[in-house]
């Protein structure tokens, strides 16, 4: 207790001496719920960037950053909104890294963040609906919209000479958003979608779903689902009944579990998922390893980037007032300026302080387009000889 008192007194002294403020940043992610395994590394990624900036002592004359976590649950919008409300009104955060899932992110943005004029940068909400949302310039995301992935997937499929596909998606907002944006893109580019049907996760038997897909036909089957859930059930059923031989796997289907389950049975199938092939990612992975967490976990690098963008924008605006620095986010994220990799935040802060310009690249090759979302780079993979092979990045 004595030590704690001493430490508090000492830190109060130091803080007072530096004349700098203590800036609180909220982290609203689904620490419980269906994506709870991803939330941990994401929060650690964001906190890594905050610590880097705090330690440098260069932000706004030596201000420090204090992260405050809140559970967004991913599925319960009311709980997420209540959490963000607490962050803003009680903790007085200046910005929030989050939300994690598209529905919950929209709810907390519209109900709490916008009325209070607080910036939210989501590392992982990918619904196309968020692109056209009225956000007063307060919402950004460091991950690409699924509309973009739909386009990329359509390109890849057409380049393989496949003109007609059947689509099945996991029965939720994410699955439907991705399937619909793909269908629109594929049709616009001259392809045919024979059927676009949902499947429910957690069933033992997908023969009925596969039967309906097979009846519609197509040269390949696009499976916009989860590899640990119904997505694999559909693939198993389709292989067993001989309904489809070629599969297209977006996003959550691309993983080591896929080849463990099917191996050479899905040879000739292909897919893509958001991932950067830049050196920034390797640098981030090393930083994460040194900090003791797994940087390869999905959207961890994006969370680091989200936090980094906030702090660089504050530095560029010279204030922690969100109403002012929200306009600087696009400036620090995009060209012109010096390219900034992960781990170079101190350098970036100095450049900005000296009046220079930065182009933040970060761990996920951030390039903000449109209303402030990542253009996104995708990793194209193919299954050959029962193994997942990286074909390239686009």
């Amino acid at each position: 207790m004595k030590k704690l008192l001493l430490a508090t007194a000492a830190s109060a002294l130091i803080a007072g001496a530096a004349q700098a403020e203590e800036i609180k940043l909220g982290i609203s992610l689904g620490f419980t719920g269906p994506l709870e395994t991803m939330a941990g590394p994401m929060a650690l990624g964001a906190e890594l960037a905050m610590k880097e900036v705090s330690d440098s002592g260069l932000l706004l004359d030596g201000s420090t950053i204090v992260p405050v976590r809140s559970d967004s649950t991913c599925v319960d919008s009311a709980a997420a909104t209540a959490g963000v409300e607490r962050l803003i009104t009680t903790e007085k955060v200046k910005a929030i890294v989050g939300g994690m899932c598209s529905g919950e992110a929209t709810a907390s943005l519209q109900n709490v963040a916008m009325p209070n004029g607080i910036v939210m940068i989501s590392p992982s909400a990918t619904s196309p609906a968020l692109s056209s949302l009225e956000d007063n310039g307060l919402f950004f995301r460091t991950s690409p919209s699924d509309a973009r992935q739909g386009e990329v997937m359509a390109d890849i499929i057409l380049e393989k000479g496949i003109k007609s596909v059947a689509v099945t998606y996991t029965n939720n907002d994410y699955g439907k958003g991705l399937a619909d944006s793909f269908e629109a893109a594929f049709k616009a580019k001259g392809g045919t979608v024979t059927v676009n049907a949902a499947h429910d996760d957690g069933k033992a038997d997908y023969s009925a779903e596969v039967g309906a897909l097979a009846a519609a036909g197509g040269d390949a089957l696009v499976v916009a689902g989860y590899v640990d859930q119904g997505g694999s059930g559909i693939v198993r059923g389709a292989i067993d009944s001989g309904a489809f031989e070629t599969f297209v796997f977006p996003d959550g289907m691309v993983g080591s579990a896929l080849v463990e389950k099917f191996g050479a049975e899905i040879d000739g199938s292909f897919g893509q998922n958001p991932a950067s092939g830049d050196e920034g990612r390797d640098i981030f992975l090393k930083l994460a390893e040194a900090a003791g967490f797994d940087g390869t976990s999905a959207y961890s690098a994006e969370a680091y980037d989200a936090a980094a963008l906030m702090m660089l924008a504050m530095q560029a605006a010279g204030t922690s007032d969100a109403a002012v620095w929200k306009d600087k986010v696009m400036d620090v994220a995009n060209a012109p300026g010096e390219k900034i990799q992960p781990g170079e935040l101190a350098k970036a802060l100095e450049i900005i302080k000296a009046g220079g310009d930065v182009d933040y690249v970060g761990g996920a090759a951030v390039e903000l387009i449109g209303s402030g979302e990542s253009a996104g780079s995708f990793r194209e993979v193919a299954i050959e000889g029962g193994e997942l092979k990286v074909i390239g990045y686009r």
Binding site: A198, K203, A204, S207, G211, A212, A214, A215, A216, G242
Partner: protein, 336 residues
């Protein structure tokens, strides 16, 4: 007109899957109907009894595999079945002793017993998850296919593939054997006859010296056997996940009620009726119609009555229709 391709497509996506699913439902419904006939209540815990039995059978399978025992090309799980049945029988006998007997002694209303069985269901569900976990488990280690779609296409030159999984054949064959054994037992053995007598008129059976506790015990053992076999066949054919058996409860009850509760023959017919309706109502007949129509023609719509998401609604609908118009079921069972 391309009747051959249409027939193969129909076989591959409707008839074969529905037959094996129907056999699994029939076995489940037999257990439900037997308990209803003799113990006079609807046992909601039956689905989870199936899950528990399958879970124990999987443990037995792993044990056999570790010892290197195999009956390839048949799945090892068939060898582990007796072990699974024995453990499940002990569990349900224990449940009867600890829970149901109390209410039987008090001559409680059937509806109270039904509620009690709901409680038992939740506890069994918990036990199953505790013992084997919640994850999906594949335990079929035998030969996967009798006819694979690719080989069939190459051999016949047809556009449509036909696949016949070995588990589908095992399911139907086992179901036939089990049903035959059950009917022989009920009709020809002394115990079976005393069970039927007890089911027809409890007081008369007691007067003629039939030991009710013995009848009840035998009924539970048979029900446990049927549940374990049905559950294991379902798990072999699809995959095992503790929660999925809870969802099977609805089609199983629909099957038993459609056939007529308490009537074993009805349970079998009901199982196949439910399975074929579920599969054919949600199947898209576009391709089949295309083959049967003139050359090069394909219907524009999917020709699908209901989306596959609504599969369970089919059992519900049939259940309601039968209860409205023929409460005793198609085969003259007892009214609910």
């Amino acid at each position: 007109m391309d009747i051959l391709n249409a027939l193969v497509a129909l076989l591959n996506f409707v008839i074969i899957p529905a037959s094996s699913y129907g056999a699994q439902l029939a076995l489940g419904a037999l257990g439900v109907t037997l308990i209803y006939g003799i113990l006079r209540f609807s046992n909601f815990a039956h689905g989870d009894t199936m899950a528990f039995g399958t879970g124990v059978t999987i443990l037995g399978t792993w044990g056999l595999q570790a010892m290197g025992v195999s009956i390839a090309p048949l799945p090892t799980a068939l060898l582990a079945l007796p072990f699974g049945i024995a453990v499940t029988a002990l569990l349900v006998l224990g449940t009867d002793r600890a829970v149901y007997r109390f209410y039987r002694k008090k001559k409680s209303d059937p509806v109270i017993l039904v509620m009690v069985s709901v409680g038992v269901m939740f506890i069994m569900n918990g036990i199953t998850r505790f013992v084997i976990g919640v994850d999906e488990i594949q335990f079929d280690d035998g030969e996967r296919f009798l006819i694979s779609a690719k080989a069939f296409k190459e051999a016949t030159g047809l556009a449509e593939g036909l696949s016949l999984r070995s588990t589908q054949v095992i399911t139907v064959v086992t179901a036939v054997l089990v049903v035959w054994a059950l009917f022989w037992f009920l009709n020809s053995t002394r115990t079976g006859k005393s069970m039927r007598a007890f089911s027809d008129n409890e007081d008369l059976a007691l007067l003629s010296g039939i030991n009710p506790e013995r009848v009840v015990a035998v009924t539970w053992i048979i029900a446990a056997g049927l549940a374990t076999i049905a559950g294991t066949l379902y798990g072999l054919d699809k995959s095992f996940k503790a929660f999925n058996y809870f969802q099977l409860l609805l089609p199983i009850f629909a099957a038993a009620i459609v056939g007529g509760l308490g009537n074993p023959l009805g349970a079998i017919a009901g199982g196949f009726i439910i399975a074929f309706s579920e599969v054919s109502v949600t199947y898209a007949f576009k391709k089949v119609a295309g083959y049967l129509g003139p050359e090069g023609w394909q219907p524009d719509s999917m020709l699908q009555l209901l989306g596959t998401e609504y599969k369970f609604a089919v059992s519900f609908a049939i259940l309601i229709i039968v209860l409205l118009f023929k409460p005793t079921g198609l085969f003259k069972g007892k009214s609910v």
